[in-house]
């Protein structure tokens, strides 16, 4: 069907649309925005788009593109139109994320201690022990408040029926929150009236919430802990975010070379002498934290940091070894993990994932291989993967053999479809695929600022929302009611 101008070229079929229902009627939450878009002349929109772009550039909201001379900086493409989520939807998401993070955190505590879930065979032992993100160094270590994952960025998508699904948990060092915060500042200036009319919940307190969570995880007995943000340095693609968050929280932005460990205590080197550090919000991967405990060739890390951590003299957030719980293979087990620890059904479902070690799933998948995406659990970056709809009969047969030879090594998912939201591209309105990454903080309790980073695949038809591959972002409005 074709919508009325200015939406005459707007693609509606084939996916859930965030603004229009299937009959082309505007969803109530988009009503104010829709009215405005009908009124605004195209020139005015182009002017606003230009204003928004230059605002991002002037604020230096950039990310670094690797592989160019001196690391070229680019602005992160930001679409003009906000993505709107109702209060009811948000409450559902919030409940689901709290449940999921609670369970995953309990899972981490369990596998680094007694491993009950492994003994009882709910999660296969070898799946955990062979995962490259499992850190045996963390065995039997007590982390403050038992919190392993202080900051999570969970990627959510909506299927063709508009149902929210979890695509991925990012439990190591998720990034992008600075785009959420700066994007809001810009959009508020561009659409002040609609923003007020719509009644949007604020997200500006994220840095305070983050700092509060980090402080809550300080080693015992530290009333006024010194918190720092550890960055790999200026050449890291998320360096802008590191400086932004450090400034917003009012904490020092340190590199590995600023820190030194003496008698299992971490200090930073200042012009007024050494200063003790209690909590490190580290934006450095496990591997590079400490060359003595992990990768020897790392020059980003701090020798002795892990021992200081184990001794309980400093907190690392997130904890070391959280990557095991966002591993691709383990993802399929998350619904069972939730049920095991909390005795509840998951509020937010996974994308249907078949564990091929299970007899009935295997039978179903083998019969429908041409419709499925099959992934080898130990691989990443698209290796060892079968995309059924695009594969030849020969490739499918080869894969069938592989699955039968080692079913434990594979999972299968149906081909995915992401929902679409309205975007202003090339001077006109059209729809593009989006996902949503809310940021979940875990300190004294779990808090989630209402919203997140909506990532958008700016190329028509594309499902890839990554910034390095033509993805951009959108402001996300969670309404008051």
């Amino acid at each position: 069907m074709t919508l009325k101008p200015p939406f005459q070229n707007y693609e509606l079929a084939g996916a859930f649309d965030e603004m229009f229902d299937a009959a082309g009627n505007v969803r109530p939450e988009y009503q104010h925005l829709h009215e405005l878009l009908l009124e605004l002349p195209a020139d005015e929109l182009r002017r606003l788009k230009h204003e928004s772009d230059s605002s991002f550039l002037n604020q230096g909201i950039t990310f670094t593109v690797y592989g160019r001379e001196e690391g070229t900086e680019r602005i992160f493409p930001h679409d003009l139109l906000p993505r709107i989520v109702t209060r009811q939807e948000w409450e559902h998401i919030e409940k689901g994320l709290k449940q999921r993070i609670t369970a995953l955190n309990l899972f981490l505590e369990d596998i680094y201690h007694d491993g009950r879930i492994l003994s009882e065979g709910v999660v296969p032992r070898e799946l955990v022990y062979t995962c490259k993100y499992f850190r045996r160094q963390m065995k039997e270590m007590q982390v403050p408040r038992g919190v392993y994952i202080c900051v999570t960025g969970t990627d959510l998508i909506r299927d063709v029926d508009g149902r929210w699904l979890v695509l991925e948990d990012n439990l190591r060092v998720p990034s992008g929150v600075s785009y959420m915060l700066t994007g809001r500042q810009v959009i508020k200036r561009i659409f002040p009236k609609v923003f007020r009319q719509s009644g949007v919940q604020p997200i500006e307190d994220y840095p305070q919430e983050l700092l509060a969570s980090l402080r809550a995880l300080a080693p015992d007995g530290k009333d006024d802990p010194t918190v720092v943000l550890l960055t790999p340095g200026v050449y890291n693609s998320a360096y802008f975010e590191h400086t932004y968050l450090a400034r917003q929280m009012g904490v020092e932005l340190v590199e590995g070379r600023d820190l030194t460990v003496h008698d299992n205590v971490v200090y930073m080197r200042t012009t007024a002498g050494l200063r003790r550090v209690d909590v490190i919000y580290r934006r450095v991967d496990d591997d590079f934290v400490d060359p003595i405990a992990f990768r020897r060739d790392s020059i980003l890390g701090v020798p002795g940091l892990f021992n200081a951590y184990r001794a309980g003299n400093v907190t690392l957030a997130n904890a070391i070894g959280t990557g095991i719980a966002d591993d691709k293979a383990l993802y399929a087990y998350v619904p069972r993990i939730i049920k095991y620890y909390l005795g509840e059904e998951p509020v937010l479902d996974n994308v249907d994932t078949h564990i091929l070690a299970d007899e009935p799933s295997r039978k179903y998948v083998l019969e429908n291989l041409s419709k499925m995406v099959v992934k080898a659990v130990g691989e990443s970056g698209g290796y060892g993967m079968l995309i059924g709809p695009h594969a030849s009969a020969k490739e499918i047969e080869e894969f069938r053999e592989k699955i039968l030879a080692d079913p434990r090594n594979y999972i299968a998912q149906p081909t995915l479809m992401l929902s679409r939201a309205p975007c202003f591209v090339d001077g006109a309105f059209d729809s593009r695929h989006v996902d949503l990454r809310p940021y979940i903080l875990y300190g004294e309790k779990i808090t989630i600022v209402p919203g997140g980073l909506t990532r958008v695949a700016l190329r028509k038809g594309s499902l890839v929302v990554n910034s390095s591959q033509g993805g951009g972002s959108k402001d996300t409005w969670v309404l008051e009611d």
Partner: protein
């Protein structure tokens, strides 16, 4: 403030001062050299090279365009404008959050301006417009530095880098002219004027001493004048002032060391006369200034940047 940040600020300011110094040096000399006899040009080129601590091998002789090329856009030459600007920018990049956005964009603009200048431009005409634009951009940057950031500890480290580099550069430039100033080597008035211009001091000198250009007065002005920003004495006084406002540092007793070095440096210049200097040997005085600058750098480094852990742990 983090020690690493202090270090980057200090070096950023030093490199920028060095870039300015090289720029002025070329600028002040190329016009003069048009009017000089060939042997005088040769002498002048060697002196420029020595003033910049001899980055070039001139034993086989060097031409004016060769020297200009090496000192403007050859990134392999340590004192060249491009390499100093690149180093300054690299240090600024490390501490981008500590300097104002005006400073960052000014420095970035300077870098891109210098980078696009090449051999072809140099073959077209004398680099006069280019050099004065570089000077203008550096002056603008220094203006932004003084007016867009708080004059706290960060700013003090920038000032220290700037004045320490200036004191050393002036001493080094005078050393390159030592024989000439002491009457042991040939020099004509035009070359002395170029020396004053290289120190940004030509007009100020005329105001103070009239157009009577004399070696002794030049030495007095560039070493002992307390009011001209490019004299060594002025730089030493500024250093003393900036050091006084720094925090205690990693080791308390080291702090005393910094104060002693800078105090003696400023006091020696304050209580010297040009006659004594000439009697005692100009070169020895200049050598001692360079040595004291080195001492101050080392003391600052040991106190604020790379102090040992032992003895500096908080109580």
């Amino acid at each position: 403030m983090l020690s690493r940040v202090a270090d980057s600020l200090y070096w950023m300011a030093r490199y920028l001062e060095r870039a300015e110094n090289t720029t002025r040096m070329i600028d002040a000399n190329i016009q003069t050299m048009l009017e000089l006899k060939p042997q005088a040009v040769e002498r002048q080129l060697r002196r420029i090279n020595r003033s910049l601590e001899s980055p070039l091998d001139v034993s086989g002789g060097i031409t004016v365009p060769e020297l200009e090329a090496a000192l403007i856009f050859d990134a392999r030459t340590p004192a060249s404008i491009i390499s100093c600007v690149m180093q300054a920018r690299e240090n600024a990049r490390q501490v981008r959050e500590q300097i104002s956005s005006e400073m960052w964009s000014g420095l970035n603009g300077l870098y891109h301006f210098v980078k696009q200048y090449d051999r072809e431009d140099l073959e077209q005409e004398l680099p006069l417009d280019f050099l004065s634009e570089v000077r203008r951009k550096i002056s603008l940057f220094k203006g932004e530095m003084d007016s867009t950031m708080s004059h706290g500890e960060e700013w003090r480290f920038l000032q220290i880098g700037r004045h320490l580099e200036r004191a050393e550069a002036m001493a080094s430039m005078l050393r390159a002219h030592c024989g000439e100033l002491c009457g042991e080597a040939e020099i004509d008035d035009l070359e002395l004027l170029a020396l004053l211009r290289s120190a940004n001091a030509f007009e100020a000198y005329l105001k103070r001493y009239t157009a009577a250009i004399e070696a002794g007065k030049i030495i007095e002005f560039l070493l002992l004048n307390g009011e001209h920003p490019y004299s060594v004495h002025y730089a030493a006084r500024r250093l003393e002032e900036d050091v006084a406002s720094l925090p205690e540092g990693g080791l308390r007793r080291k702090r005393t060391q910094v104060e002693r070095v800078v105090g003696r440096f400023a006091a020696t210049l304050a209580f010297s006369s040009v006659d004594e200097i000439l009697t005692g040997g100009l070169d020895a005085t200049l050598q001692s200034i360079e040595w004291q600058c080195g001492q101050l750098h080392a003391a600052l480094h040991d106190t604020y940047i790379d102090y040992p852990i032992e003895g500096s742990l908080p109580a």
